[in-house]
Symmetry: none
Subunit: 398 residues, 2 copies
């Protein structure tokens, strides 16, 4: 499909903005029967929905709850099942670690083991990030033959391990048994990862020695081993100068993964919109990320999610005033407040352009969008529609 | 897809009920313009639809009319095109024949041939089941080298032939020329079925001799040769203790085929609901089958189908009172009264749970469900949604 698209791309000067509201979709409040989107006052989004074609996006498959990685890959036009991205890679992207081709990354936990080596706490009592920083210092001194060992603290008990060197392989089993028991040795899941498995097992043995007096964080668990996936590059497939604007590092990392340029911005959405205005002339496509909706949803805070939606809505006129040719508003997955986590529910999408063919939908919500002309569609179908609406695709066949 | 799902399954104590109304979907009455579902008074199903997410299921592909086998496999989460089940196997399941792995089953017809061996009636004038029973007795005496020959009467002119023994193959052509002509010899469609082809041809030759004086039923036609398919087991894929409640043997057989436990029940739907109540604690998932809708549709009896729907509706409160976490109401295919047969039309589905995200649909009918948030979807997408709503799947990717 990406090859087909790439072959149909024609150049144009049209400008595209993708506004990704993280965790956008919600569920009805048990008392009012209205979802966060239905409860919020969204005059600008409703006006845009009235002029737009609307629908619902499914990012991975029906019933499957997407992580933020697969969710955004879908929005960018990639089939998330065809291009899996390991947890280790996402964790590294999340701290803006400069992961390079061939590096093997894993997500690490400090944990507690007893004298017999049995895990008694998989999260080492959620040690503070400060303690974590001290302990990762110790692990950085570990030397392994022929590879560089990179260890970076994340938050609380979490860290990232990266091995860098020639001929490594990321097809490795996890050391985390998921239940209490003893940590498992890493096994290579492919012959090309056998040397890496040995190196990782040596790292774990050394780590145990160096942490022996560091209870409760006296051992490590490693999972989600992976290497940077070889993703087709977004700017080349779609012939777009593409820029990403995101206050959170993980989303900058995902954009970088597909070859978008990451623009420097501030920590709030007002900063992001300012960055958009500032770089308006320099790019054809802007991925602009809004985090607050997901944060509120994951906290299970219905009212906070309503407010986050309303705050976002207030920025819409400013973005429209820039004169984009295509505007998409959607998200990477649902985060319903009643679930207090990501959800599998399809995510409202509106696609606005001069040629979108407005449908009867007059409000931007889960239920209203269900009646839109886009229907319920895989998220990776969005980019071809965006490109068409930007008059950047020629016809297929004569 | 089933592998992906199996990898995401987490345990929970939630309970799921699938209510399968056989041949549920219909078509508008030519006089009133209203379908059976629209004509029936369904207060309990309409209330459930109001609280549920609704849509339409396509079991095989657009325009393809599903048999009950593929229709139910779809509801159970299997792609019916990937897991075909031969007619011989379905016929054997339909009479609750204890078909075993390796057995080759075929669907048989008694037919009439003239002195030159040409078929003059493919159904032998639809002889009575009693005559059939007498004739199958004669065929049971046929002996073939190295295999057991099992012949079971079905109804009127139909019977089941099963060969049991080591090294048999079910990839065989049919003897039924489908038009009038002479019965065809069986050919092996794969080398591993060659010995079986020889054995079947010997059976046919012997059968002809034994039936020579039995006109109009003086010959047999055999088709739909197949062996039990190796289906991934439903309880293992989905991590569910799964039970089937069905008054009709064919549906019990289908459930057994995917590894569900078949619960003993009576002959009416009230018995089935009693069985459901009785076994409520013992299982996580219940497939409950309702036959009357299909029967009326296949009889072309619009009013009887309306009544069948209304009778079903009356049981809904009793089922809800058990406190399921997820309720699905749908069917295995359409059986529109105006067609008096199975139809290719998509089948209404409602999926109710605390997290389903109610959509604007307020009635359980073909047209109302077309506006639901589930959209028109392949039936095999239902199980992932059911699992998600039962909070029995973790997210994909980080």
């Amino acid at each position: 499909m990406l090859d087909l698209l790439a072959g149909l791309v024609v150049s144009n000067t049209t400008k595209i903005v993708l506004l990704s509201l993280d965790g956008l979709a919600g569920l009805p409040h048990l008392k009012t029967g209205q979802s966060e989107m239905e409860t919020a006052s969204l005059p600008n989004l409703d006006a845009l929905a009235t002029e737009a074609a609307c629908g619902l996006l499914r990012h991975v498959a029906p019933g499957i709850t997407p992580g933020s990685g697969p969710g955004h890959l879908g929005l960018f036009g990639y089939d998330p099942l065809r291009y899996p991205v390991g947890r280790g890679v996402l964790e590294a992207l999340g701290i803006e670690f400069d992961l390079r081709a061939g590096d093997v990354a894993a997500r690490g936990n400090f944990c507690t083991v007893d004298a017999a080596g049995r895990i008694t706490d998989r999260r080492a009592g959620r040690i503070s990030t400060e303690v974590n920083i001290g302990l990762t210092e110790r692990l950085r001194d570990i030397r392994l033959p022929g590879v560089e060992v990179l260890v970076e603290p994340v938050k609380e008990h979490r860290f990232v391990l990266v091995l860098r060197g020639a001929g490594l392989g990321g097809r490795l089993s996890e050391t985390d048994p998921q239940t209490l028991g003893t940590p498992l040795p890493v096994r290579a899941l492919e012959p090309s990862s056998e040397r890496t498995a040995d190196l990782v097992n040596r790292f774990v043995a050394e780590a145990r020695q160096r942490l022996t007096d560091a209870a409760p964080a006296n051992m490590v668990l490693l999972r989600g081993f992976d290497q940077l996936p070889a993703l087709p590059r977004f700017p080349e497939i779609f012939g777009l100068r593409a820029a990403a604007i995101a206050a959170y590092p993980m989303y900058r990392g995902l954009a970088k993964l597909v070859g978008m340029e990451v623009l420097k911005t501030g920590s709030g959405f007002a900063d992001e919109v300012a960055t958009l205005r500032q770089h308006w002339e320099g790019y054809d496509y802007f991925f602009v990320h809004y985090k607050d909706t997901d944060k509120a949803g994951e906290d299970g805070d219905f009212d906070a999610k309503v407010s986050a939606l309303e705050r976002f809505d207030a920025f819409v006129p400013e973005i429209r005033a820039l004169g984009p040719d295509v505007i998409v508003v959607s998200g990477d997955h649902a985060s319903p407040s009643v679930l207090a986590s990501h959800g599998w529910q399809p995510v409202p999408v509106l696609l606005w352009s001069r040629y979108c063919g407005a449908d009867p939908v007059k409000a931007f919500s889960e239920r209203a969008c269900a009646a839109g002309t886009l229907g319920v569609m895989p998220a990776q179908h969005l980019m071809p529609l965006v490109m068409a609406n930007a008059l950047r695709l020629t016809k297929y066949g004569a």
